[in-house]
């Protein structure tokens, strides 16, 4: 399935995978979480949403996943059929900020879930489950229960569960926020490797300027109250290795630029 979606993207390079137009979201509590978001995401792109707490990053992600509806505005998937609930018929995976595992199931059974819901038996799904666990470095933990794992390992199970469907679109909500610097760095590199291998479209939410610039091709900086996009930074990561990229002048300069944007985003809401 993802092969067709990607080749379709190559045939029509100008067409975005998804495009948001004038999207607003007002909750029943009266909070305006988003006010007029316009955003195009190209197929195969790695895009980050960077912004202070409460600026509506999660809300954007949930709307992309069809888990919330915009109050006004449209979310269009020009290359896919969209069902009644606003979900495109693309394979989409969501990684939540918390691992969100089922404690009563082993690691393997948790990773099996998306395939199980599609009607695949454990036996049929097993090779793909093992493969996904191998990719996140948890090959030996298939039969462990979530409570036997560390926070970082749980997070990696959650990522394996997202990988196992071989998604076209990967939505990640601060997946590494709770992890230590080393693990986070490793998972960042793993994520980039997987993205290059599978050609996903990744929408990555983060608080961290460095993570956003390190990972993405484009960083969208958001401001709160009301939530909106205030800056878009294109990151041109030439053929750099992880090490050289992290110390390169371009990287440092873009981080400074993104930081400045973020500071202005926070300053704009400070007086409230």
């Amino acid at each position: 399935m993802n092969a067709t979606a990607i080749s379709a993207a190559h045939e029509a390079p100008g067409r975005p995978l998804v495009s948001l137009r004038g999207v607003t979201k007002t909750f029943s509590t009266g909070t305006t979480a988003l006010a007029g978001v316009d955003l195009d995401i190209a197929p195969g792109e790695f895009i980050s949403l960077l912004g202070p707490s409460g600026c509506g990053k999660s809300t954007v992600l949930r709307m992309l996943a069809g888990l919330a509806d915009p109050s006004t505005g449209t979310i269009d998937w020009p290359q896919a059929r969209v069902d009644g609930a606003g979900r495109p018929d693309l394979d989409m995976s969501f990684v939540f900020q918390e691992a969100t595992l089922m404690p009563w199931g082993t690691v393997a059974r948790n990773v099996w879930l998306p395939l199980r819901l599609k009607g695949l038996s454990m036996k049929a799904a097993r090779p793909r489950i093992d493969e996904a666990l191998e990719m996140v470095g948890l090959g030996g933990f298939a039969d462990a229960y979530p409570r036997e794992l560390s926070g970082g390992m749980k997070m990696r199970v959650s990522i394996a569960r997202a990988l196992v469907t071989r998604p076209v679109v990967m939505l990640m909500d601060e997946p590494f926020a709770a992890l230590d610097e080393i693990t986070r760095q490793k998972l960042n590199d793993d994520l980039l490797r997987l993205w290059e291998t599978f050609g996903w479209t990744v929408v990555f939410v983060t608080h961290s300027v460095f993570e956003a610039v390190y990972l993405s091709q484009r960083v969208m900086v958001m401001a709160a109250r009301p939530g909106r996009i205030i800056d878009g930074i294109d990151v041109d990561r030439a053929e750099e290795t992880p090490e050289s990229w992290r110390t390169s002048e371009t990287y440092v300069r873009l981080c400074q630029r993104a930081s400045a944007s973020l500071v202005s985003a926070i300053a704009g809401t400070d007086h409230l």
Binding site: F94, F96, K118
Partner: protein
């Protein structure tokens, strides 16, 4: 559990040995305690020559248990039958109604008040009415015990079904799970610890309700349960038999509690926080 530490040099017991020791003590300590209390009781009765129609000695109670078994055995069976039928119906009914209630907010709004009324009205007060309407006394007792046992199962299970992790519900939605799949694979397992907590309470309550309802019914004759035998023994001042009947009731209560706890442990020990032994 897998981390095995070797015995330390100062001769302290290894964790495995310490665990075995603890397990042994868990049995030995209560048994010693029981033996001590019974011994004290026997000594008191003998030393002060307490008449058996006031406080029978443990030996006499044991004797009554054996000699009166023809009377007490069938009565115990009757009480247990009511208890377990009521418990079974409460589990099935509580679970089914809980699932129904969480399907729609309106069902909950419509039924909620009546469930609360049923719960808060003392069963002793409704029992006479139920006795009039029910075809037999046994049925009336069963209905009383059911009403009492049903509520903890229902409210616990509803609570459990509602406290399912919202992110997991979203995840199921994202992957296009059907309502049945979400119920079966997510909501019911998430509610299991709550359901089992309800079961533990309901087990004890159904026995209590079976006895209380029989007191209220005041039924007599061949088909009567332990409650009636207790009243009867009281009238006849057959105190040893009264104690023997009480003993049977507590034993039944303890057995039910142990069985429900064991079931909960078996179902939860692999994953739920309540059943996990923390390793230091």
């Amino acid at each position: 559990m897998s981390g095995v530490r070797s015995p330390s040099a100062d001769g302290k017991a290894s964790p495995a040995e310490a665990r075995g020791m603890e397990r042994l003590l868990r049995v030995v300590v209560p048994v010693l305690m029981l033996a001590g209390l019974v011994g004290l009781w026997q000594w008191y009765v003998t030393a002060f020559a307490v008449p058996h129609y006031i406080l029978p000695s443990p030996v006499r109670v044991a004797g009554a248990l054996v000699t009166d078994w023809q009377v007490l055995g069938p009565a115990l069976l009757v009480t247990l039958k009511i208890t377990f039928s009521a418990l079974f119906l409460a589990l099935v009914g509580g679970l089914a109604l809980a699932i129904l209630l969480v399907q729609s907010r309106w069902i909950e709004i419509a039924l909620g008040p009546y469930l609360v009324i049923l719960q808060v009205t003392p069963i002793v007060a409704i029992a006479p009415l139920i006795l009039i309407y029910a075809p037999t006394t046994q049925t009336a007792l069963l209905i009383c015990a059911f009403i009492v046992a049903f509520f903890p199962v229902l409210s616990n299970t509803v609570q459990g079904l509602k406290s399912t992790d919202h992110n997991l519900i979203d995840l199921y939605r994202l992957y296009g799970a059907s309502r049945m799949q979400t119920l079966w694979l997510l909501r019911l397992p998430a509610a299991l610890p709550y359901f089992l907590a309800g079961l533990k309470i309901a087990g004890g309550l159904s026995l209590i309700a079976a006895v209380v309802a029989e007191f209220a019914a005041g039924s007599a004759g061949a088909g009567s349960g332990l409650a009636f035998r207790i009243l009867e023994s009281q009238f006849r001042l057959n105190i040893p038999r009264l104690f023997a009947a009480l003993l049977l009731l507590s034993a039944a209560g303890v057995a039910i509690y142990a069985a429900t706890s064991l079931l909960a442990h078996l179902l939860l020990h692999k994953w739920h926080e309540s059943a996990i032994r923390r390793e230091k």
